[in-house]
């Protein structure tokens, strides 16, 4: 679940509040990435998953450093409390205190849905340096959530990107993606992420509520709510080690 958070950040890119002068598309991406990667984040968020017979909300606390390192600890519900997840580059481990086992998520397990949500572990493994991974072009302007946006098309530079194209709606003043569509190689829409609400934290605009939807799957999608977020916190390097999972 915690990993949700990481992905959400990648997907719902944020930026500084002031309007930039006219920027080129790559510059916009770079700006977003710069903000993201420099961030030492500590956040508390919750995820609402609509299952076939019940709706569950899971609360988690995440420490995030750039796009490659994150550590998440589940706070509730009681059954999930104490579970921990560590992402280091392309590796993902989960620790279950009940079983006292660290499980590496690899191979076919990556394709499974995370806790029945619309996100797979593969989605969590995304390393979101957009400007490195994608070639961007501005297509048009549009309005989303009553905000003026650039609609940008992102084309993967390398064939191994999970999503070979993305279409993003970027707030022209706040540099936050308000809506994003993720496409397969064939151009088929796979996933859609939409902001419901954004909020200002210190001097950054950040997603407050968003909806993540797997287009191919029937259902209402997965809702994400950011409760608190702190930037530039001190995170000891030991936090991002396997040893810290059992701590």
């Amino acid at each position: 679940m915690k990993f949700f958070f990481l992905s959400m950040i990648g997907i719902a890119l944020h930026s500084m509040a002031w309007t930039a002068p006219l920027l080129s598309a790559p510059e916009i991406l770079f700006k977003i990435d710069q903000n993201l990667t420099s961030a030492n984040l500590l956040s508390v968020s919750s995820f609402t998953i609509h299952g076939s017979r019940s709706t569950r909300t899971i609360k988690a606390k995440s420490w995030i450093q750039g796009a490659h390192r994150s550590f998440t600890e589940y706070l509730s519900p009681p059954r999930e409390k104490g579970n921990k997840m560590l992402k280091l580059d392309d590796n993902l481990w989960i620790y279950y205190p009940n079983a006292d086992r660290v499980i590496k998520i690899a191979g076919h397990m990556l394709r499974q849905s995370v806790m029945g949500s619309d996100l797979s572990y593969e989605d969590m493994m995304e390393n979101n340096k957009l400007h490195e991974a994608y070639q961007a072009t501005i297509q048009k302007t549009d309005t989303f959530l009553d905000r003026p946006c650039w609609v940008m098309s992102l084309q993967a530079k390398q064939p191994d990107q999970a999503y070979s194209t993305r279409k993003v709606w970027v707030d022209q003043e706040r540099f936050i993606t308000l809506k994003q569509e993720l496409f397969a190689k064939s151009g088929k829409l796979l996933k859609r992420v939409e902001m419901r609400e954004v909020f200002l934290v210190k001097d950054r605009w950040y997603p407050k509520r968003l909806l993540f939807k797997d287009i191919l799957k029937k259902g209402e999608g997965t809702e994400v709510l950011i409760h608190t977020i702190e930037f530039d916190v001190d995170i000891p390097p030991s936090r991002f080690s396997k040893a810290s999972l059992r701590r």
């Binding site: 191979g107 076919h108 394709r111 849905s113 993967a156 390398q158 064939p159 191994d160 990107q161 999970a162 999503y163 070979s164 397969a184 190689k185 064939s186 088929k188 796979l190 191919l216 799957k217 029937k218 259902g219």
Partner: protein, 389 residues
């Protein structure tokens, strides 16, 4: 010859008792032949179906391919070796794991790429040449798959897979045909798709997971990363399955034989007991004791010959009809792992008839001789006087 004639006369003279015994024996013949014929027919039918739809004349597998291990599929394909590139003699098949979303529900399946032009497997792959709606890829599925996922011809279903590089790709598949196969292994949990489309989709041009050969005689040179699996290996499981069924029927034969032999033994024992005087007379007339034993044994064996004739009279037409027409199978046998189709055609061979006849006659000879052997000790004078041995 005299003995044979005498034995025949004696046997016929016994009237109803002879015919009772003969009838029982003939039932034994018919039963054993029928059940064995069904098992042979079953085996051949499954083998024929598997060769036609699944196995061809043997296969080359990529060294890492394990059809039982879905996790191995992603890595178990490679470019087609040059020596196996022969569209006349081989059909390469590429297997790729994927996810489909029938009615919005996520399901794991495998995609099997096959050339629509191929003629080695009898799957109706040419239906893949039918045109699919723009932006979709034509696929065909088996009836079980259609039933399991509630899909039918003309439907489209969203599918998602990963390219060789790891990127997500997805498209709609249009189901251009639903085929019927007796072989579950080419049906359940899979979608057939034109090979070139699949190779393009996962970006592995010219790759294959396994290669089906047209016929086993043309075994091609062994390639290090491709392992040859002969038809015999591939059919081993089917053989075991049918043999286990056959083995379980041996019990029935044994009990049936025992019953029939019991009847014959009974008759023989009584003959020996009741016919002292007659046998004594024969001896007095010059028949040696061993000849008398032969006579009695022969009488017993005659039952077998009569039974064979009787079995031919009423069993023959049944065998002939079943062998030609078969009989309908009222249930879906596939749940029990058999690819049988809708009709079961038993196969009767000369060997089966001869073998059954020979076996029954052998037992019959022993069982006929056993009560008769005491006669050898009989003194004609005692016998004529009606005294026991």
């Amino acid at each position: 010859m005299l003995l044979v004639r005498l034995a025949f006369k004696n046997t016929m003279a016994a009237g109803v008792r002879t015919w009772l015994n003969t009838f029982i024996l003939s039932l034994t013949f018919v039963f054993i032949i029928l059940i064995n014929g069904i098992h042979t027919g079953m085996y051949l039918q499954i083998v024929r179906a598997r060769i036609a739809d699944e196995l061809g004349g043997g296969q080359y597998w990529h060294a890492d391919y394990d059809p039982f291990d879905p996790f191995s599929l992603e890595e178990s394909h490679a470019p087609l070796p040059l020596s196996l590139q022969n569209s006349e003699k081989t059909v390469p098949i590429l297997v790729v794991p994927a996810t489909i979303y029938p009615h919005g529900q996520m399901q794991s399946v495998v995609l099997k790429g096959i050339s629509p032009e191929q003629s080695i497997l009898q799957l109706p792959t040419s239906s893949l040449k039918r045109s699919a709606p723009a932006g979709t890829i034509p696929v065909m599925i088996g009836m079980r798959m259609a039933r399991d996922f509630q899909l039918s011809e003309g439907d489209t279903v969203a599918a998602r897979w990963r390219t060789h590089d790891g990127a997500f790709d997805a498209m709609d598949f249009a189901i251009v045909s639903v085929f019927k196969s007796d072989v579950q292994a080419v049906d359940q949990g899979q979608l057939w798709i034109p090979l070139e489309n699949l190779q393009r989709m996962v970006q592995t041009p010219n790759h294959a997971t396994f290669i089906v050969l047209r016929d086993e005689l043309q075994i091609l040179p062994q390639e290090a990363s491709w392992q040859f699996h002969s038809l015999e290996d591939l059919l081993a499981d089917t053989r075991l399955l049918v043999e286990s069924k056959r083995a379980s029927a041996v019990w029935l034969y044994a009990i049936l034989m025992l019953l029939a032999m019991l009847a014959i033994f009974d008759t023989q024992a009584l003959s020996v007991f009741r016919r002292h005087k007659e046998l004594g007379t024969l001896m007095a007339l010059g028949l040696t004791p061993s000849k008398v034993v032969q006579l009695i044994t022969l009488e017993g064996c005659l039952h077998g010959i009569l039974a064979a004739i009787l079995a031919t009279v009423y069993g023959g037409p049944v065998f002939w009809y079943l062998g030609a027409e078969g009989y309908p199978i009222p249930v879906d046998t596939e749940q029990f792992g058999l690819a049988l189709g809708e009709r079961m055609v038993p196969v009767f061979s000369v060997g089966l008839f001869a073998g059954t006849f020979g076996t029954v006659m052998l037992f019959l000879a022993v069982i006929s001789y056993w009560p008769a052997r005491k006669i050898a000790k009989l003194q004609p004078s005692d016998a004529l006087r009606g005294r026991s041995y």
